[in-house]
Symmetry: C2
Subunit: 196 residues, 2 copies
DNA sequence: CGGTTCCTTGAGGATGATCAACGAGGGTGG
DNA sequence: CCACCCTCGTTGATCATCCTCAAGGAACCG
């Protein structure tokens, strides 16, 4: 969990419901609020002129998202939409800044969080750019495995379209890659469900 | 400038020369030092098994680089190499952490810097993934224009290979894109030099 | 049971990668 | 000053790969 819920409420944060599909904020919009997920999940993505979408990331329980623009007076580089029905805490930018000023420990946590984000973005962009479809998908699976030290194969909770949007590939390519990967045991496909 | 030079030296930082091509740190290496460029420039990149390189970014005078892993106890996701002859300040990780603890203002600056990095990484990955070669190159040119509010076309100080490594394209593709772009005035090419 | 949403397959086409060869410029040393 | 080398730029031909389009099937849900 990013910031303590009590602390947030003390500062006047409110919890808001976002049904699946509802937009939280929009690309190029000015950033005025801090968002932290109580439950549910959201997806951040870009759309290009042809309507093709590129997923920047998924965020879920306890995570905050869309913070960077708050600190640098920039607009959002991507759009955020509820991926499931979600309950999200909302706090004004000014109050967030004050919280950080008064709580060095929280500020430190934020700095660490931002560093983690950069680190994983660096890794994912390198994985995506140079590699073949199978590599990109593999990288996605590894990065999004819930229980990283679990050796059992787990159900991959993303549709092929979602994986395509994340890896910059097309659905059909993802599908064909998966059937190949299942042949060499890299993943299992049981009843159209992917396990990794 | 990121951290005041006097402050750095007070804490025992040393300046070190890196001739062009010398490695500063290497992918997967543990992060133990803070680096800040006095003069020169460095390039951060990844290589894949076939030797193809992907440039994560360039850093120059006054900028620091390779900080994120310091805060999250991770290895470097990329390799850093001097792109020109450079003079770089080096300070141990522990001391940097102490500087930040004792100087909330510096810590705040760091947080802002990291936010900027995420922001530009988000933008560049969206630009790179979905788009055609001309778009990718355009995005590179825009992001790397020195004098952003200059309407005069300026010399682009990168070779076509460097732009290829940054955009995930091949040299030949970059060349062909440039000749196309010069036909519709998006760039000028004079004497093999690109102006944008 | 009807309607979504998601998955699957095939055929065909476009595009960027690859390979190979050559040209141009700049710097260095004889 | 010239010859050489090295890096960078350029071009054309060919190939592999992924995208596109189109159609149909499977699973799931109310």
């Amino acid at each position: 969990m990013q910031i303590d819920l009590d602390l947030l409420f003390t500062w006047g944060a409110i919890a808001k419901e976002y049904p699946k599909g509802k937009m939280v904020f929009c690309e190029d919009e000015k950033a005025n609020f801090y968002f932290q997920i109580i439950e549910g999940s959201i997806r951040m993505f870009n759309s290009n002129e042809e309507g093709k979408e590129f997923t920047q990331g998924y965020f879920t329980n306890g995570q905050s998202f869309g913070e960077p623009p708050l600190f640098i007076d920039e607009t959002y580089p991507s759009t955020a939409v509820a991926f499931q029905d979600s309950k999200i805490i909302k706090l004004s930018k000014d109050k967030l800044i004050k919280i950080l000023e008064e709580n060095p420990v929280v500020q430190k946590k934020f700095l660490n969080l931002m560093c983690q984000r950069i680190h994983s973005k660096a890794i994912s962009s390198k994985d995506i750019i140079n590699q073949k479809p199978e590599f990109r998908i593999m990288a996605f699976l590894i990065a999004h495995k819930k229980n990283k030290n679990c050796y059992e194969k787990e159900l991959v909770p993303y549709t092929r379209q979602e994986i395509a949007n994340f890896t910059g590939l097309r659905v059909e390519t993802v599908i064909r890659a998966f059937t190949k990967m299942s042949k060499c045991q890299k993943v299992d496909i049981i009843n159209h469900k992917v396990f990794y």
